[in-house]
Amino acid sequence: MLAGRSKSLTETDPARPADTAPPLYPAHVRYDATFPAVPLAVGEIRHEVAAFARQCGFDEPQLAAVALAVSEASTNAIVHGYRGRPGAIRVSAAIGDGELTVVVADDGCGLVPRTDSQGLGLGLPIMASVARRVEFVAEGGGTQVHLVFPCLDEAAA
C-alpha cells in the first residue's frame, strides 16, 4: 500500500465541446480546489468531493465510501502532515478509465514515523477498506494520498 515515490496517477483529459451529450462518467470533468489545513476544512473537502462524485453518477453507497476516505485523507494531512500548523491542502478529483481518482496533497512533513502519534492508526486501514486502491506518494516534502474508486458500471462488473 505504501507505494513510495511514484508518478501521479491522474491525467487531465482535454476539454470537449460543451454541445456534445455528457457521457455517464464525463472524463473531461475535473475538480480542483485548495483549502486551509484546519479541522473545519475536513467536512468541507468531504462534501465537495462527494458532490463531484454525485455529478459523475456515483450512487449513495459509493458516495459514502468516497466521503469517508476523503475525510480520512484530509484528517491525515492536518494531523500528520502539518501537525496542526498552518498550511494548504490541495484536492483534485477526476474520472478516467472507469475510475474516480481523488488526490489529497499537503506540503507538510511527509510520511515520518512519530512516537507521539494521535489515535489508533485507523485512518489508513479505513481508506484501504473503502477505496479500490490507496497510494501514498512522497512529493517534495509533503504527501499525496491517491484514492481510487470504481465507477458504478465498473463496480458491478
Partner: protein, 116 residues
C-alpha cells in the same frame, strides 16, 4: 497555487444535553470528524463524571476515525473510572458500518431504545 477556499465557521454538528432523572441524555446530530470530536468527548466526559450517560446518536449521519478515536478513549475512561455509559442502538447505517469496520461496535455498551 489556487487561492484557498473558505471553510464554514460552524461544523455540521449539534450536541444537546438533556438532563433526566436517571440518566443524562446526550444527543448528537450531524457529522463527527476532526473539527468536533474532541469537543464531543470533553462534553460527554464532563457529564459522565457526575451522571450515568445515555448517548443518542440516531441523528448522527457521519463518523470517521476521529470519532472512533474519541469513542474508544471514552470507553477506556468509563472502564477505568467506573462510570456508566449506554449508547442507544439506533444508529444510521453508515455510522454503524464505520464502527463495525474498526472493531469498536462490538465493544460499545449498546442499549435497545425500547428497553428500560
Amino acid at each position: 497555487m489556487t487561492p484557498a477556499r473558505s471553510v464554514p465557521d460552524e461544523p455540521r454538528y449539534r450536541i444537546e444535553i438533556v438532563p433526566a432523572p436517571d440518566w443524562t441524555v446526550i444527543a448528537v446530530a450531524g457529522e463527527m470528524d476532526l473539527a468536533v470530536a474532541d469537543e464531543f468527548a470533553a462534553t460527554v466526559r464532563g457529564q459522565l463524571a457526575t451522571h450515568p450517560v445515555r448517548l443518542d446518536l440516531h441523528e448522527l449521519s457521519f463518523v470517521d476515525s476521529s470519532g472512533v478515536r474519541v469513542l474508544d478513549a471514552l470507553l477506556r475512561d468509563v472502564q477505568r473510572e467506573g462510570w456508566t455509559l449506554a449508547i442507544d442502538a439506533t444508529l444510521q447505517e453508515g455510522v454503524r458500518q464505520v464502527l463495525a469496520m474498526t472493531g469498536l461496535l462490538a465493544h460499545l455498551p449498546m442499549r435497545e431504545v425500547d428497553g428500560s
